[in-house]
């Protein structure tokens, strides 16, 4: 029998060997039968209790943060919708002057930007934060303070960004901000900077949420919930979060480069100096098209769960659906340049993207057929969620079909930048995300509200929105065919466009009427609660419908099927009576069980942090940092950055607490360790994910370098000398070795022994070596005559060096933080989470430095 790496990986994936050595026979002990001691539930309630009043600003629990997140995202949906109504009034008749041209430009830019960046992605992330812990039967997501930070950063940043429209500073270059229109020459004010810094900042918040979701789905599932038993929404959120990690760095880099060009005259996108505006389009759409699937896939996960409930049968083709999610995630990264068919790309290139655009419809089609088959196999109860679910399938299919049409190059040339595209994208986004979201509001409302929403009114909401959607967007296919361009504030009379536009405007107000009715019902019926909720109104079968409190479920169940509530009628009582895992608090602190990523075998007990003002402090000052940068208040920006950093370090201070107790009984006499380090720990997974994000930024920066090199290699200069390169590489290798040595020193100490100052000093030496390497690299290129303002080569090389310098600065701060903890006696042997994180980050920074130093020298000019 072969025992190669692939075999070992496959064996673990298929569970032929236990991942952790956990004996599955122990599962027979559940549900337990002995009565639980009195007072356990009261103790759980006390530990998981949250502050009230202004103290709510410090809560980190997913019930609250998820709710705040959903409410904030919905607020932005309403605000962007109002902007859309303004545009439709302007276009209701030809040559109207309801909105002046400049204001119209700001309206369509803000509408697209807010819908995509402040509503769609945050909304699905918010629903994930709200539902996932209960769906996975975890006490909370693994980094509650990170969730809180992500939310507040998004909310504060989003409000500041939206407020720009009231002071005439809103961006006006379209939601994809193409240069040269957005270059300093054509957009001289700070409107564009608001977009670039605001969106870059908000994307950081999205990435923080994605890291939380990846680790949460992979490491906090209830025991027994193998990959094959995960709820479809959890699968969808996993794919969604991985896609964010891969795609979002591209737009973060793009916004940084454009801001560098505007602020410091580095010519990334200026063809006169070796840049290329098409580079922006590549960077933007490498994020922008997967973004559509990033929005769609979680909604598809919600759909898959609701379809099963409304049809009252298991989802047909569960595994096919998972495969389709994964395949969609992959293939969606091969379609970005179909937005660039009209830019004159080489003919074969356009063919590749056209082919991939059609190929992606295969897995998307699989999902749709699975839903239809499920509805056909079951007996539909025509509730409000059912209407929204069925309606969204039809709308999404219509949008998908026009998507295949525009995937064909000649057709795209004809309708590019016309209202046909507006119609297509709204069918896809409303059918693929907005309708499933409304279905989910009705379906899961019972988890957070004392009262269910009105079924009668819900049906009115559906029919108004469904009718309004078609009345609005169906005519736009025709206006597009008739040549009406997008993003133009008016049109001439007697071109056959008048009636169609008027109909579209009427349709938009019909949709608005549906949304207003929903708001009315919400105000009438919705009452937020974490304990006395309306419950499982539609009869769902997954774990989020177990009886819960702020601590999620009283005990964490053993999962035996995909719909445990349908298959085990006693599970609700058993869970509530504490007959499963962790029926109490073992340490007197907030805690949850960390399980293995594939088979969900119990591994260890994680201690979780409670309410804290530091995440919101960090978020507010991070927002202030970016806002001050936008208005060029550099001194205040530096101050805000330092305060944000202090807040982050202060919040982290409490998360690596030494605890005397080494093991915990998590029920039925099963004993696991408490808070471990290394590859089995959830922190290890989170740091790895962060490294992937940073690595993707570097990867896309290197792509930018190579892309510009391919356009104007003749104007590029020769790199610094080879001995200097060898010296930089040697410094980086020494930094890596020094950091690893610090871990070895600590590991050689007995349990609880203080190792002296050597470990942190070795880490600090590693960080200092990184600093020396980047200084040498920077001065080397400067000495070779490379100027960042002179050419695309200079701009991209110094952008890479600047990113590496930032990474090194973070490594330095981490080393000093480690030193401070060591000075307070908190660094004890043989292992320590903080030291582990610092050492691995320094190692990553060294490898990133090597890549940055070597690659740009492999493609030199001269």
């Amino acid at each position: 029998m072969s025992t190669g790496p692939l075999d070992r990986a496959r064996n673990a994936m298929e569970g032929r060997t236990s991942e952790t050595g956990f004996d599955h026979e122990l599962y027979r002990l559940f549900p337990t039968h002995r009565p639980r001691p009195e007072g356990e539930v009261e103790e759980l309630e006390k530990i998981w209790d949250n502050p009230t009043g202004w103290g709510l600003l410090t809560v980190v629990n997913n019930n609250y943060i998820g709710f705040f997140y959903v409410a904030a995202a919905f607020l932005f949906f309403l605000l962007a919708g109002i902007l859309a109504l303004g545009m439709r009034v302007q276009l209701a008749a030809p040559l109207q002057d309801f909105l002046p041209p400049d204001t119209y430009n700001r309206f369509f830019t803000m509408h697209g930007t807010v819908m995509m960046f402040l509503f769609a992605v945050p909304m699905v992330e918010a629903i994930g934060i709200m539902l996932l812990p209960q769906m996975l039967a975890a006490r909370d997501l693994p980094f509650p303070r990170l969730s809180a930070y992500a939310f507040w950063a998004y909310f504060v940043g989003g409000l500041c960004f939206f407020a720009s429209i009231f002071v005439g500073l809103a961006p006006d270059g379209g939601w994809f901000m193409y240069p040269p229109l957005t270059s300093l020459t054509y957009s001289p004010g700070i409107n564009t900077d608001f977009w670039l810094l605001g969106i870059g900042f908000i994307e950081i918040s999205a990435i923080a949420g994605a890291i939380e979701i990846i680790v949460g789905v992979l490491r906090t599932r209830a025991p027994g919930m193998t990959l094959d038993r995960m709820p479809m929404f959890a699968w969808a959120m996993l794919v969604f979060a991985v896609m964010i990690v891969i795609a979002f760095p591209s737009v973060i880099l793009g916004t940084l480069l454009l801001e560098l060009e505007r602020a410091f005259n580095w010519p990334f996108f200026d063809p006169a100096r070796g840049g290329d505006p098409l580079l922006w389009q590549h960077l933007f759409w490498f994020f922008g098209h997967p973004e559509v699937y990033i929005i769609f896939l979680p909604a598809a996960g919600l759909m898959s769960m609701m379809v099963a409930t409304v049809a009252r049968t298991e989802l047909v083709g569960y595994r096919l659906n998972v495969l389709a999610l994964v395949a969609t995630g992959f293939i969606s990264f091969g379609v970005w340049a179909h937005h660039m068919f009209a830019t004159g790309m080489p003919r074969v290139s356009t063919g590749y993207f056209s082919a991939a655009s059609m190929a992606v419809s295969l897995p998307a089609g699989i999902q749709v057929f699975c839903w239809i088959a499920t509805l056909a196999a079951g007996k539909i109860r025509w509730s409000t969620p059912a209407l929204f679910v069925v309606g969204s399938i039809g709308i999404f299919v219509m949008g998908g079909l026009t998507g295949v049409m525009v995937g064909m190059v000649p057709f795209d040339w004809q309708v590019h930048d016309t209202y046909f595209i507006v119609a297509h994208l709204h069918y896809v986004l409303l059918g693929g995300m907005v309708f499933p979201m409304f279905a989910a509001f009705y379906y899961w409302n019972g988890m957070t509200s004392k009262n269910a929403l009105s079924e009668r009114m819900g049906k009115w909401v559906f029919w108004l929105m469904f009718t309004g959607l078609h009345v609005t967007f169906l005519p736009m296919h025709l206006t597009g065919f008739m040549g009406m361009p997008r993003r133009v504030y008016t049109y001439l009379p007697d071109r056959g466009l008048d009636l169609l536009n008027l109909v579209s405007t009427i349709g938009a107000f019909v949709i608005a009427a549906g949304v207003l009715l929903f708001l009315f019902d919400l105000a009438r019926r919705f009452r937020f609660t974490t304990s006395e909720d309306a419950g499982n109104v539609y009869g769902g079968g997954t774990l989020e419908w177990l009886p819960t409190g702020m601590y999620s479920t009283r005990s964490i169940p053993l999962v035996r099927s995909r719909e445990p509530l349908w298959d085990d009628p006693d599970i609700c009582d058993d869970v509530a009576e504490g007959r499963y895992f962790l029926p109490n608090t073992v340490t007197g602190l907030r805690e949850t069980i960390i399980t293995s990523p594939i088979n969900a075998e119990p591994q260890y007990l994680q201690l979780m942090p409670g309410p804290s003002p530091w995440p919101i402090g960090a978020a507010v000052f991070t927002a202030a940092f970016f806002l001050a940068l936008t208005v060029q208040a550099y001194a205040f920006s530096a101050f805000a950055g330092v305060v944000a950093l202090v807040c982050v370090l202060r919040w982290l201070w409490e998360t690596d607490r030494p605890i005397q107790q080494e093991t915990a009984d998590i029920g039925a006499g099963i004993v696991v360790p408490i808070a471990i380090t290394g590859p089995s720990s959830h922190g290890w997974w989170a740091l790895n994910t962060l490294m992937v994000v940073m690595g993707m930024i570097v990867f896309m920066a290197i792509f930018s370098y190579l892309y510009l090199y391919g356009i104007n290699p003749e104007v590029w200069i020769a790199p610094p000398s080879l001995p200097q390169t060898a010296g930089i590489a040697a410094l980086l290798v020494l930094a890596l070795g020094s950091a690893r040595l610090s871990r070895r020193i600590l590991a050689s100490k007995p349990k609880g022994a203080f190792p002296g100052q050597a470990p942190w000093l070795m880490a600090a030496i590693g960080a200092a070596l990184l600093g020396a390497a980047i200084w040498w690299d920077w001065t080397g290129w400067s000495g070779a005559g490379l100027d960042p303002t002179a050419s695309g080569q200079g701009a991209t090389v110094f952008a890479l060096l600047a990113f590496q310098a930032c990474t090194v600065a973070i490594a330095g701060i981490m080393a000093l933080y480690l030193g401070y903890r060591s000075g307070r006696g908190l660094l004890v042997g043989p292992s320590n989470v903080t030291l582990d994180v610092v050492v691995r980050f320094i190692g990553y920074a060294a490898l990133q430095g090597l890549a940055c130093a070597l690659v740009v020298r492999l493609f030199p000019g001269g």
């Binding site: 692939l6 075999d7 990986a9 496959r10 994936m13 298929e14 569970g15 032929r16 236990s18 599955h24 026979e25 599962y27 027979r28 027994g224 193998t226 990959l227 094959d228 595994r319 096919l320 998972v322 495969l323 994964v326 395949a327 992959f330 293939i331 990264f333 091969g334 340049a337 790309m345 080489p346 003919r347 074969v348 290139s349 356009t350 063919g351 590749y352 993207f353 056209s354 082919a355 991939a356 059609m358 190929a359 295969l362 897995p363 035996r560 594939i598 088979n599 969900a600 075998e601 391919g710």
Partner: protein, 92 residues
Amino acid sequence: MRDYRNDIDWLTPTLALCVWAAHFLLLWAASIVFPDQPVARWIAAILTLPALGAMWWLCRRGDVTSWVSIPGLGITIAVVGILFSLLPAIVG
């Protein structure tokens, strides 16, 4: 006793789609390095051979009990994607 082990080979379809992604990106890179030149088409044809070879290897190594199994379908989708990508190089 119920089985508490994951019994689906998700690794094989994931690797198959990774091969598709690598094949796609290399084909695209060749098409922009050699714009509108026949060499880009030749590179596409040549790169398709190792990609299909990787698929064959995955079939042999993976738990492909039939083409309608999850690993089988994953490989099928990836192969369709690879052949689809090759098409513009031949007829485009």
